[in-house]
């Protein structure tokens, strides 16, 4: 079992880590047995889907069964190790996987699809530069009003961040900054 993967820091997302682990695992370079090779493939593909907000409700259960079979049926120790590591991660980081799947959030802020962009009301001067930059018209506001990003329109491209000279636009993971839901007049 790979101990490093069971001692992740706050900055590491278990979904992303498991995806990369499966992708670069020995089994992915071998192909001599179905459970090792195709198991690694399914782990990688499923993790990738989860990071991309394309998870399925059955994913956890299916992967647990798969990993159990990988441990039992792989041709050599490598496949067994991959199955064991994945099983342990699915167990230890169950909350993170669940958050990705259900609440659709990535606590470590690694999975791009789960981060959100916000305009800090204290810093926004209501210049409107960000509005011009956003190709998806996701930013609401007018001159001298605190601008607000419509999360249902935002595609997380992040372009607005550099458009704001006041550094009022920030990226957020699980913890979101507070702010108005509709544009309100600037205080400054």
């Amino acid at each position: 079992m790979n101990e490093k993967l069971l001692n992740l820091t706050d900055k590491q997302c278990p979904v992303n880590e498991l995806m990369n682990y499966a992708k670069t695992h020995k089994c992915a370079d071998c192909g001599k047995c179905v459970f090792g090779y195709e198991g690694a493939t399914q782990l990688e593909l499923t993790m990738a889907d989860i990071t991309m907000k394309r998870s399925r409700a059955t994913d956890m259960e299916q992967l647990k069964k798969l990993c159990t079979m990988m441990v039992e049926q792989s041709l050599c120790d490598d496949g067994i190790e991959l199955g064991q590591t994945a099983l342990a991660m699915l167990d230890k980081y169950a909350d993170d996987f669940a958050a990705h799947i259900a609440k659709k959030s990535c606590k470590a802020g690694v999975c791009k699809k789960f981060v959100t962009f916000h305009i800090l009301p204290d810093l926004c001067i209501g210049c409107g530069d960000c509005v011009d930059e956003c190709e998806d018209d996701a930013i609401m506001g007018k001159k001298k009003f605190i601008h607000v990003i419509d999360q249902s329109e935002c595609t997380q491209c992040g372009k607005c961040v550099s458009a704001c000279d006041e550094e009022a636009i920030v990226m957020a993971g699980a913890v979101k900054p507070r702010g108005p839901l509709k544009p309100v007049p600037c205080k400054r």
Partner: protein
């Protein structure tokens, strides 16, 4: 024997046998894919999972060895779950459509997922697209369909020892392939086809069109033997030559033909047109190797082998002693019948001794093979023309008419009846009999440039004559084989292709020339027999000559007899039902029924009619015999540069030398040449050693 229980059934197994094969042998089907009966089991696919002695975890039955008292459950929940999951996982990365796959309907994977009722749709789908490679000769690679079972790799590496195939990685993932992106030739492939034979999917397949020529699988795999009219076991005799056993090679050839040396000289080698080596560079020198084998067969061990049945007391007359008649006589005698061959000429052999010139077929070589037939008990009478078959039939239980087509035909030209106008048949017979041929004069025109026309022309060049060889066909459509054409040209034949013939000039007693014109193109209508020409204007000319020889077709000559006794058609060929003529007990075969053909075809006709006559006389018609036991090492190993080995040709004597005599124009292969040439063979037959893998449906679907 070891006793164990599989699915409640007591089964006996060999010690050391796998549970999978113990079950399959007992008629209990367990799905399996990466296992192949002739390759080491690896246990990679897990489709063969079973539970042993009630253990919780399923194990692969292919790598589990039987033990006394073992209790196997092939359908336990654990085993079924593993099996289904494995199949689902494989299908998740496999093309979803089977239609259009070359293996459709014959694919083990397809058969398995159909019977298991499984698909990959619960999983993340990811086709692994690998570009199809059809640039290699004989073998197509479609690794998009590879399931990484490793069977081809084990076959190529372990079974064959060639080590071309391995697991390779590209952007799509891992699949079987040739490392470093090499071509098969550059990687040292021996084109043995083992990989094709064992691949359970449509990933490694015979190149398009290769397996559709004949109805039988074996014929498609070994096309040389399929093309040979007598179906000689060509790869086996080439192998014997390579391994330094020319005597065995002759025995193998003699299982099918009593004239190996004649064929080694003059066979038209249809086998070589089918030979798969021809798809790589040039076909094998199959005919030349045959000659080599006979000429190096010191011990002639085949003489002591083969069947000789009890005498039946039945008498058979064979009319005509060409290759068909003598072949039939040889086998009929072996079947126990008393055979008498009746030949109208002073010498036995038909066209072998009175047609084909000595520079292609030395007389002593033919006579040696005929002598063996006589030594085996066949009686023969020469100078004996049969004119009434009904009278002959009174003295015999059966008669075979194998008179060939020994009468030449002339075209109906003005002057064709002049004194110095001859047919090829007569000229060739005189030539073979060493007669004085000065009656032809100094300059001769030969009409017709088929094999017979060339025989005449090349023979007369050897008599010091000036020879014009004219034919209607354009230069690139000439019927004779290429060797005749190039060698004839070297020997000084003046070829006049694309010519049409108007008349023979001169008087009935003195030919002075042949009037011809040039045709730019011509078409022949089979139905009406009419030739339409596009004539080159002003091309009419007279080729001066002292005589004209027609090599424009032959017939049986039977219609020249008042009452031969069997019904003939308007062209003088016997009316037939199979090999039976209109008279009970009288059979016909060979060129006399097929029209002019090749020696090997006549021999095969002789074999076939033998069976018919034997059955008529109360026998079983069986003439198959084994004169040499076969063995072939599947481990062929590597030969550097195998795909680039060039065809070895026999040494051709210099033209100015060979026109001075009647001796064979070729020198037979040296031992080294023969071995080099034999080494080039792909041994296509080795593929057939593999145990055919049965699809689920072929187990009777009992489970």
């Amino acid at each position: 024997m070891i006793k164990l229980t599989i699915d409640g059934k007591t089964v006996e197994a060999r010690e050391g046998q796998s549970v999978l094969h113990a079950a399959l042998d007992a008629g209990i089907y367990i799905p399996h894919l990466c296992d192949h009966p002739d390759l080491e089991a690896k246990g990679g696919c897990r489709l063969c999972s079973v539970s042993i002695n009630g253990d919780a975890a399923a194990v692969p039955s292919c790598t589990t060895i039987v033990e006394e008292g073992m209790v196997v459950n092939t359908k336990s929940e654990a085993a079924e779950a593993v099996r289904r999951t494995s199949m689902e996982l494989m299908l998740a990365t496999h093309p979803s459509e089977c239609t259009g796959c070359p293996k459709f309907g014959k694919c083990e994977l397809q058969s398995l997922y159909q019977v298991m009722g499984v698909n990959g749709e619960d999983w993340r789908l990811k086709p692994r697209i690998v570009p199809t490679d059809e640039k290699n000769p004989l073998i197509s690679h479609l690794f998009t369909r590879c399931v990484r079972c490793g069977r081809c790799i084990r076959a190529c590496q372990d079974k064959r020892g060639v080590k071309v195939l391995d697991y390779v990685r590209d952007a799509s993932g891992i699949h079987a392939g040739i490392p470093e992106g090499k071509s098969l030739i550059d990687a040292g492939c021996r084109f043995c086809g083992a990989c094709i034979e064992v691949c359970p999917t449509g990933s490694i397949v015979d190149a398009v069109g290769l397996m559709e020529k004949y109805p039988s699988y074996a014929d498609n795999v070994v096309p040389c033997s399929a093309e040979c009219p007598a179906h000689i076991d060509i790869p086996a005799y080439i192998r014997a030559i390579r391994e330094g056993r020319p005597g065995d090679a002759v025995a193998i050839i003699r299982e099918k033909v009593p004239f190996p040396l004649v064929l080694g000289h003059i066979c038209n080698h249809l086998c070589e047109t089918g030979c798969k080596r021809g798809n790589i560079n040039d076909p094998m020198g199959i005919r030349n190797l045959k000659r080599y084998a006979v000429e190096h067969d010191e011990e002639q061990a085949w003489k002591a082998k083969g069947f000789m049945k009890e005498r039946t007391g039945k008498r058979v007359a064979v009319v005509g002693s060409g290759p068909c008649g003598l072949t039939a006589a040889y086998y009929l005698n072996k079947l126990g019948h008393d055979v008498t061959v009746l030949e109208k000429r002073p010498q036995l052999g038909g066209p072998m001794t009175s047609g084909i010139p000595a520079y292609r077929l030395p007389l002593e070589d033919v006579m040696e093979e005929i002598q063996y037939i006589l030594d085996s008990g066949v009686k023969a009478e020469v100078n004996c023309t049969v004119t009434d078959v009904a009278a002959l039939k009174k003295d015999y239980d059966a008669v075979l008419v194998a008179v060939g087509v020994s009468k030449g035909k002339k075209l109906p030209l003005p002057g064709a009846d002049f004194k110095q106008v001859y047919t090829a048949m007569d000229v060739l017979a005189d030539n073979r009999a060493n007669k004085d041929m000065s009656y032809l004069g100094d300059t001769v025109c030969v009409i017709g440039a088929g094999s017979v026309g060339y025989d005449v022309a090349r023979s007369l060049v050897r008599k010091g004559m000036t020879v014009n060889l004219a034919c209607l066909e354009q230069a690139d459509k000439i019927l004779a084989d290429m060797d005749d054409q190039t060698e004839g040209a070297e020997e000084g034949i003046n070829l006049l292709p694309g010519r049409s013939f108007e008349a023979i000039e001169g008087t009935p007693d003195k030919v002075t020339g042949l009037r011809i014109h040039t045709v730019l193109s011509s078409t022949y209508d089979r139905a009406t027999g009419k030739v339409t020409e596009v004539v080159e204007e002003g091309s009419q000319t007279v080729v001066p000559c002292d005589s004209v020889v027609f090599a424009t077709g032959q017939h049986t000559g039977l219609q020249e007899f008042d009452n031969f006794g069997i019904e003939l058609n308007e062209r003088g060929f016997p009316v037939l039902d199979g090999f039976n003529t209109s008279m009970d007990g009288v059979f016909a075969a060979g060129d006399a029924i097929t029209g002019i053909s090749f020696v090997i075809k006549a021999i095969q006709q002789g074999r076939l009619v033998t069976a018919a006559i034997d059955r008529y006389l109360g026998g079983d018609g069986e003439i198959a015999e084994t004169l040499c036991e076969r063995s072939a090492d599947p481990h062929i190993g590597r030969i550097e540069g195998f795909g680039k080995l060039e065809r070895v040709e026999q040494t051709l004597r210099a033209a100015d030398e060979r026109v001075k005599d009647e001796l064979d124009v070729y020198h037979t292969y040296s031992c080294d040449q023969a071995k080099c040439e034999a080494e080039r063979c792909l041994q296509c037959d080795l593929r057939l050693q593999f145990t055919p893998v049965k699809l689920w449906s072929e187990y009777g679907g009992a489970n």
